[in-house]
Symmetry: C2
Subunit: 238 residues, 2 copies
């Protein structure tokens, strides 16, 4: 199959989508059957948490271990307080690596990575729809929308994609601050607050069975500006 | 600052790099001070593990919970067997969400996401250089290089970036198989084997103090084909 035919065929079934099914399908059919034993199984018990408290903690935690640690740790701390075991056995520091889109590689925004781990712990099989809601909100909202007490609002932008590189660069272009400034760092600390708060809100709504189902077309999830890589010369005419 | 000036200024300090410092800097200065208590702290104790055994387990685990679960779970299982606590307290299933670059969103390759979490658990402050080694290898190697017993080799490609979308699409273009085929799924199962094996090798080398230090220029980490977004018309002339 040559490149043109490949792309034409791919578009017929929805190019832009990378993998198609998520692990959720596998869970449904396997029920974790082959997985080695750990002492606690997901989903972990959940009690509703205070989104504002979580946001403030995430904002502060950014200064300790950046974005991924901040979002994960702020929510886990609340759950360690309100529920206790088994949340007490997982160290927040495991998520240091997610900073800067994966150890600075600019891929998955660390705040989303850390939040996704907690969502999976809490909701088990239902993680997929909650993560879709979070990533869709992140891609389309004006962020950061968390403003710390006694501080001024800052420039907000639409991240467009769950990618650190694009999210940060969009903000840098709009604000005029380069990536290596304290202003950009403050923006990402507030973003950790925003994402942790939104995650707490989604988990609370899910717990109340009030989560509004959103449908994210799988073909849209990886909408990395198709035309940039997949030149129009190669697209089918119809 | 207009777009042109922003880009010119950004290039002077290295556009392409998103965040600059990683959480490692924060660890160095904060020593986890503000982090809420969990029962076990990183780094966890480590005993060397068998890379081939890990690769085979990751390949099999892909059919249970896809790429991120597979890489994380295969290594964790070995450590639960050889070390025991505290690895016994973290469920592999927490990493289901990383499938397909984050719940199918095509960002950070799930195999790298899961592997990075184990690396951070095992090496604590030293995670950054090991993750850089892993991502740099992933970006430049011909993958998947794991071939299951009694099976034929398949097409291999250079993923170029730690992004699921690019990694999968490069392979699809070279092999002629679309993303939603069983052949692409087999490729990603083998990739989980490759990445889990490489991670085990890196951890063993680190444990023997034989890890070859690699230096990845921070400006290169997010090399998402700058020219695609950052048109040449906007670049400084010199």
């Amino acid at each position: 199959m040559d490149r043109r035919n490949f792309l034409e065929n791919s578009f017929k079934v929805g190019l832009g989508m990378t993998v198609g099914m998520t692990a959720n399908n596998a869970i449904a059919s396997n029920e974790f059957k082959n997985s080695s034993e750990s002492k606690f199984k997901i989903p972990y018990p959940y009690k509703k948490i205070d989104p504002e408290k979580v946001a403030h903690k995430a904002y502060k935690y950014y200064r300790v271990g950046e974005c991924c640690f901040a979002a994960f740790g702020a929510i886990m701390d609340e759950l360690r307080e309100s529920v206790g075991e088994p949340y007490t056995y997982i160290p927040n520091e495991m998520f240091f690596y997610g900073a800067g889109g994966g150890n600075g590689w600019g891929t998955l925004c660390g705040t989303l990575n850390g939040a996704s781990a907690v969502i999976t712990l809490v909701t088990g099989k239902e993680y997929s729809k909650i993560i879709d809601s979070l990533y869709e909100w992140y891609s389309t909202a004006q962020l950061p929308d968390y403003v710390p007490h006694n501080k001024e609002a800052i420039v907000t932008t639409k991240p467009e994609l769950p990618l650190c590189h694009v999210s940060v660069m969009n903000w840098c272009k709009a604000s005029g601050y380069a990536y290596d400034t304290k202003e950009r760092s403050e923006r990402c600390a507030r973003l950790a607050g925003s994402v942790a708060r939104k995650t707490a809100e989604l988990l609370n709504a899910w717990s109340d069975q009030k989560l509004k189902d959103i449908s994210v077309n799988a073909g849209c999830k990886t909408k990395m500006n198709c035309m940039m890589c997949h030149s129009s010369r190669l697209l089918p005419k119809s």
